[in-house]
């Protein structure tokens, strides 16, 4: 990355993206990632060179059709199985801390 070419990302943007992705990055991580992601984004931005308006987008490599099944009960996890890996539980429910903060 040349000095005259501004990075496509700055630290404030990386901090914002980390917040959206729910990862509590440290300031050191944000600084390191800002540089690394800048290099990566510069490299991958070349996709726009060939992605002209006449080219349709492809989301899946093999043509897929919607999948349906009969509306009958199948084999499912028991409550105990579903809760077996829970970090914290309250009876038959997953337990989490408050959804809303005090100021909300």
């Amino acid at each position: 990355m040349s000095a005259t070419n501004p990075s496509p990302l700055d630290a404030a943007q990386v901090a914002h993206l980390a917040n959206l992705a729910r990862i509590a990055l440290t300031p050191e991580e944000i600084e390191k990632l800002t540089g690394e992601l800048g290099v990566i984004i510069e490299s991958i931005a070349k996709v726009s060179e060939v992605a002209t308006p006449d080219v349709p987008a492809t989301s899946h490599p093999i043509r897929l059709a919607n999948v349906f099944r009969a509306d009958v009960p199948g084999e499912t996890l028991t409550v105990e199985q579903a809760l077996s890996g829970a970090p914290e539980r309250d009876g038959d429910r997953f337990k989490v801390s408050a959804i809303l903060g005090e100021e909300q």
Binding site: L9, Q13, V14, L17, A18, N19, L20, A21, R22, I23, A24, L25, T26, E29, L33, E36, L37, V39, I40, I41, S43, I44, A45, K46, V47, S48, E49, V50, A51, T52, V55, P56, A57, T58, S59, H60, P61, I62, L64, V67, R69, L77, Q81, A82, S84, G85, A86, P87, E88, F94, V96, S97, A98, I99, L100, G101
Partner: protein
């Protein structure tokens, strides 16, 4: 014992069905081998405590005259990205450390139904993000050919386990090359089936439009035998293809028996070679092409100009899909929970958990994917990458109009040193330059050994690709090429490995084995 671990799965199958050996003996030999070498290789994250019990049950059923599948009693290792209800399933991540899923992946169910013996779970780059297995939260796997070098990735554990004769078979997963590139750098065989050919139910998702589960082995026939067990339609996976597949083992046996490639049009992809490929990789590749031509193949050059944009498109599509798939690791239903000092809302707990539980490469790709999907950037990045995907499919279509199979080196270099590329993400990403196009187009591809690079004596691999649904063609051509190469070497590539379990074989003066490690 050393003789049992040096056998292929097909050979073990014969000895087991004739009751020349028991599954308990075979399983014990492999467990002993793991105890002997895995302290150095570190291919396994977990070794099953019940393998001998399972083996004894298979032996009991056989002694009672039960009709068993060909691979019954043969050991298999399972990449840690696949859910197993009796063993931890971490995907190489701290955030899932110790997690035991309440259900088996469909492919694991099928292994159990066919009475294979699961030996344990193999190491991998965290959530399959990497090309060296150095991004595992539990330490790297080492290449059995040289313990200072990487075994490839993300499935370095599965590839190293078969290369070190700790297991004859393993399962892997391939999103951009994670089965084929490790095969290339460890001198083993790995197959990425057609997208949808093998169920992904219970495979911890990385990028859902790219991921495929597939077999890892030391021979083409063994990969085919395992593919026959795990492949086919699964109603639990909505992307699973509902179609009949031929017997891949029969396809491999036919290829091995024929010894001829007469009438097979082999397309050499111009863009997957030359600059950026190590000289010893290029020279072994040229020799493999000569060998195929001598066996009657019609070698044609094909051009796929859009492949030069494949890595760029991949590193937009993969992070975008991964950032969505990894949102499930939210500290609520399973896995790690880290409470920040002084408590906080559930969002604060999620952010603290994901900060502590994810490694640097996972964070890098989640942030990159979040960026690529942001309003204002979506069309320029993710939208453009999806268009490149169309162009790559078109390139495959026109190449397969001229050729029955396409070939390239499976990896641009031999195994590099641990740590060499860890701090340079872009350099690491280039390791998958040859394998990514097949994932973007959904076509099947195999990596198999093509000799040792003269300059460093390390394995190189060739990739064979076929049109979607034509996996059997790869097994046939692959088995023929494997037989031709082994005939030219006089022995298997892995018999050159410093970890070959039998007595050292005499050096032979063939040009293809020059540079063999002394």
């Amino acid at each position: 014992m050393s003789e049992l671990i040096s056998l292929t799965a097909a050979e073990l199958s014969e000895k087991l069905s004739s009751r020349e050996v028991s599954s308990v003996e075979v399983t014990q030999a492999h467990l002993d081998r793991i105890a002997e070498v895995d302290g150095d290789v570190h291919a396994f994250l977990h070794v099953s405590a019940t393998a001998l019990k399972v083996a004894a049950e298979v032996d009991g059923a056989r002694n009672l005259g039960a009709r068993l599948s060909p691979l019954a009693g043969v050991p298999v290792a399972i990449k840690d990205v696949l859910c197993t209800r009796d063993m931890p399933s971490t995907a190489g991540s701290r955030i899932l450390e110790g997690w035991i899923p309440p259900y088996d992946a469909t492919v694991v169910q099928r292994l159990r139904a066919a009475k294979l013996v699961p030996l344990g779970k193999t190491n991998m780059d965290e959530f399959a993000m990497g090309s060296s297995t150095e991004h595992s939260a539990f330490g790297p796997t080492r290449n059995p050919w040289d313990l200072e070098r990487i075994p490839g990735g993300s499935g370095g554990g599965s590839a190293a386990a078969v290369a070190a004769f700790e297991t004859p078979l393993a399962l892997g997963s391939d999103t951009g090359g994670s089965i084929r590139q490790p095969a290339a750098v460890t001198g083993t065989v790995g197959m990425k089936p057609t997208y949808g050919g093998v169920s992904r139910y219970g495979a911890i998702a990385l990028a859902s439009s790219l991921d495929q589960v597939g077999p890892v082995s030391r021979t083409v026939l063994d990969a085919a035998l395992l593919h026959d067990v795990v492949g086919g339609h699964d109603p639990h996976d909505s992307t699973s293809l509902d179609r009949d597949w031929p017997c891949f083992a029969d396809a491999a046996r036919a290829g091995k028996a024929s010894g001829s490639l007469t009438g097979v049009r082999v397309g050499v992809v111009r863009e997957l070679g030359g600059e950026g490929f190590q000289s010893g990789v290029s020279s072994r590749y040229a020799e493999a092409l000569d060998l195929m031509a001598a066996a009657g193949a019609d070698i044609v050059e094909v051009s796929a100009p859009s492949f030069t944009y494949a890595i760029a498109a991949y590193y937009l599509i993969l992070p975008a899909e991964a950032s969505s798939n990894l949102a499930k690791f939210d500290s609520v239903r399973f896995g790690l929970r880290v409470n920040p000092p002084g408590g906080g809302t559930v969002e604060d707990v999620m952010a603290a958990t994901r900060e502590a539980g994810f490694g640097p490469e996972v964070k890098r790709r989640i942030i990159l994917g979040t960026y690529a999907l942001s309003a204002g950037y979506y069309d320029a990045y993710y939208g453009s990458a999806q268009k490149v995907r169309t162009l790559i499919q078109r390139d495959f279509d026109s190449a397969f109009a001229k050729a029955d199979v396409l070939v390239s080196p499976a990896a641009p270099t031999t195994a590099f040193k641990l740590g060499e590329k860890l701090e340079d993400p872009l350099a690491m990403y280039l390791n998958d330059v040859a394998t990514i196009p097949a994932n973007l187009a959904g076509v099947p591809g195999m990596g198999l050994p093509m000799g040792l690079a003269p300059e460093d004596g390390l394995p190189t691999g060739i990739q064979i690709m076929a049109p979607a649904f034509e996996d059997a063609r790869i097994y046939t051509v692959g088995a023929t090429l494997e037989a031709l190469l082994e005939e030219s070497w006089g022995r298997s590539l892995l018999s050159h490995s410093p970890r070959f379990p039998l007595d050292p074989l005499p050096e032979i003066g063939d040009a293809r084995t020059e540079g063999t490690r002394k």
